[in-house]
Amino acid sequence: MNTSFLSQYGSEIATLTMEHLWLTGAAMLFATALAVPAGIWLTRSPRWAKPMIGIANVLQTIPSLAMFGFLLPLPWLGERAARIAIVALTAYALLPILRNTYAGIRGIDPTLIEVARAIGLTDSQRLFKIELPLAASFIFAGLRTATVTCIGIATIAAAVGAGGLGELIFRGVASIDNRLVLAGAIPAALLALVADAALGLLEHRYKIPGPQGSIQ
């Protein structure tokens, strides 16, 4: 890419990158706010785990273009493309977060849960002092998968007019201009790499010290 291309599209790339970040970020916030508590709740009522994780799994398998299409005619959502994009991305992010929260807590050595109860920790103390810290690395791994997936899928959101870096890709494809395709694809890939590295650091930071850790 030469300088004239960058001077022509530079500010647009920046704007669309911000838009992309905002769509993904909002979706991740919603998904985390839904899936982490849901995952915790499932560890308390494990008989719901299979159906709930099943539903999240099915959501995950819906092709993203179809998902955006399904949401388009819905009353409130259809009014703004960004709403559709955020709802769809949230749906895709649910599964990894839900599954890892559930598996992370369920995987804690039962002796530790037992001891936490036996020494008289209350339910919320057990959750916040023992279970969540011990499962944190697992939960961050779920967030990481979800974020990277969302950054990728968010490029498709441009198809319903939600903006983001997909905008450049779609335009590039339509006008057979590979420079435009790359102008969308490269920043999207960089975003994914940065998110992956940052969340990877968090995941590592919360690894349980010791040869096996506590996650079985």
Partner: protein
């Protein structure tokens, strides 16, 4: 003497219908050590766990210092009863100091109070605070972990300690050291102890009373010095199982190949 802990006609059944405890009654006098012996599956651990209501008995009741355990809140009850188990169950993400202070932390004590108490307890169990308070469980040996586990159980100054095969996973020398340390410590603290073990030597060394359980029933309940004198067949069989290595002149028929 008053009863610190009393089991009255305890029966416990698991959902499949199997009976784990069958009408067990037992009184632990204040400040004494009671060892519960018995084979695996005889109900030792189940009995211990009815004390802090980790298992709810299907019949009977448990009295803690005269109060019905069912009438105390679970959290209250469990904080009165120190709990030590074989795998120690130290929290891997906490250092020694925080592991020891966790109950105090749960009670809302300040960090300063917890650090002071943790240092006191480390000294009590024979570990140097300046070396050990910042270590994590994976940086400790088996014996050191068990000492920290004991310190944690003592942190809230419980009147009663429940110990479930606390030294079962240790090598004989470390186990002996731990037994010495515990015996010494109990003499100073006046704590009532319920010790589940299958090690007869440990029971004889540490306990004032020895209770033998079999298939969920109390087979014998004797002061330590009368236990080995008893000619009750179950006791004799249990004691013989511990003396096999010493009878090399007339080898036991089952162990004649040296395989126990």
């Amino acid at each position: 003497m008053n009863a610190a802990l009393e089991f009255q006609n305890i029966s416990a059944t698991i959902p499949s219908g199997r009976r784990l405890l069958d009408d067990v009654s037992l009184v632990l006098e204040d400040g004494t050590v009671t060892a519960i012996l018995g084979r695996s599956g005889s109900g030792k651990t189940t009995l211990l766990r009815t004390a802090n209501r980790m298992i709810e008995p299907s019949r009977g009741r448990v009295l803690v210092a005269g109060a019905n355990a069912n009438e105390l809140s679970l959290v209250q009850l469990r904080r009165k009863l120190g709990y030590v188990i074989q795998e120690t169950g130290l929290f891997p993400h906490f250092n020694t100091e925080r592991n020891i202070g966790i109950v105090l932390e749960a009670e809302g004590q300040s960090r300063e109070q917890r650090v002071t108490r943790s240092n006191e307890l480390l000294q009590l169990v024979g570990l140097d605070p300046s070396t050990f308070s910042t270590r994590f469980p994976h940086q400790l040996s088996g014996g050191q972990r068990q000492r920290v586990g004991l310190a944690r159980a003592l942190a809230a100054e419980p009147k009663i300690l429940l110990m479930d095969e606390p030294f079962g996973a240790l090598d004989p020398l470390t186990r002996a050291e731990m037994q010495d340390m515990l015996r010494d410590l109990l003499q100073r603290l006046h704590t009532t102890v319920l010790l589940v073990t299958h090690d007869l030597d440990e029971a004889l060394y540490l306990a004032d009373r020895i209770v033998l359980l079999g298939e969920g029933r109390v087979l014998a309940n004797l002061p330590r010095d009368q236990f080995l004198q008893s000619d009750q067949p179950e006791i004799v069989a249990y004691a013989r199982a511990f003396r096999r290595g010493q009878s090399t002149v007339t080898p036991d028929p089952i162990a004649k190949d040296g395989v126990a």
